[in-house]
Symmetry: C2
Subunit: 196 residues, 2 copies
DNA sequence: GGGTTCATGTAATCGGTTACATGATTCG
DNA sequence: CGAATCATGTAACCGATTACATGAACCC
């Protein structure tokens, strides 16, 4: 399984492994727990399937960055609870030292608008309407979280850790708001339906 | 080469092939030209390496969605100029009918802020400063394009195709502005450097 | 002479998705 | 009785990145 290459690449570019280490730094968890957290909080800026999670946990274990103990829980199926090893913590700290790369943007909707321009056929409006609804729904969700978890506007009083997590939520809010603004701009200058 | 599966999947999820068809709908081009356009205009919302482009062009040719003629140009190396076939145009139109999927977000910077929160070590500020500079540079670039290519504020007078392309640029501007706003918010509430 | 541009690709590897597989428990 | 939740994985495939490879022309 080419452990050497894996260990070396605990540094370089890609980062599902670092995301998992990050989740384990917060608290020990099973593969199932981690997958669920990808569907919830962290899922707003990183996604991974359970298959990816289990595979990565196996590699991290082999590399000595995490360890697990099997916990039997009476009725429920047994689970493996993973936690950071000291080397895992070191690897995570080393990753923090390196500059974060810019997120890759791949947006089908914008490509489609280009395609409609090139073909002089097709109607982008339904897609924009759909996207507007999706972003509006997310914005509501984030604003609810903001209201329920953080007393708005009193950042200064929070511990560092909470301030950092709050900022990730703020990013979600600003991003969704920017999408809504764009959708409205687009809808206001696209006719209801061109010939096609 | 499992052409059947490929042909069927001209419909389903992923879309490098549709992006390339989109570029060819605008005008015929070589693999090299297409790669360059990924580095320029279209690159703001879709990226692909030259290796990906050449491989996809080979598959699209085999599937009959594009065709090429080899053009020798005296001094320079010969090139293959690709163009849409009627089936290619059909495939692109069919793709336009299907709803666009939401872009996947994977942002290392936000993961890092979560990691700093969990470890109580490390400093996110340098990364935020770096990101702010990158987004500011892009915003300048986009605003220059806006000034040079579109008379600001007179969307109504443009042909449909230009209005659509202008909207993709507007999206870039709104997105970069939102990032700048967030970076400023983050910097204003993070201390210069926590202990770590 | 050395770097950039034009122009094309192959090979190896890694990241991510889809489909398949199992098995118990709890809720409606 | 059927669906959802808890909990773990394997296998096949597709998408994307990195490294390697070639070769001519043009510019400094």
């Amino acid at each position: 399984m080419q452990l050497d290459a894996y260990q070396i690449s605990v540094c370089p570019p890609m980062s599902l492994r670092h995301v998992i280490l990050t989740l384990l730094a917060e608290q020990p968890a099973s593969g199932y727990d981690i997958t669920k957290r990808f569907d919830a909080s962290l899922g707003y800026f990183w996604q991974a399937s359970h298959q990816q999670v289990y595979r990565e946990l196996a590699r991290l274990t082999e590399a000595g960055l995490v360890s697990f103990e099997t916990v039997t829980q009476g009725e429920r199926p047994a689970k493996k609870v993973y936690r950071l090893t000291p080397q895992g913590r070191e690897a995570l700290l080393a990753w923090l030292e390196r500059p974060a790369s810019l997120p890759v943007i791949k947006d089908e909707l914008l490509v489609k608008m280009w395609a409609v321009a090139g073909l002089a056929a097709g109607d982008p409006v339904p897609d924009v309407v759909r996207r507007r609804a999706e972003h509006a729904a997310r914005l509501v969700e984030y604003r609810d979280l903001e209201r329920d978890c953080f007393a708005a506007g009193c950042l200064a009083g929070l511990p560092e850790a909470d301030r950092l997590r709050y900022l990730t939520l703020r990013r979600g809010i600003l991003a969704e708001q920017a999408w809504l603004d764009w959708c409205d701009e687009a809808l206001s200058c696209l006719p209801a339906a061109p010939p096609g």
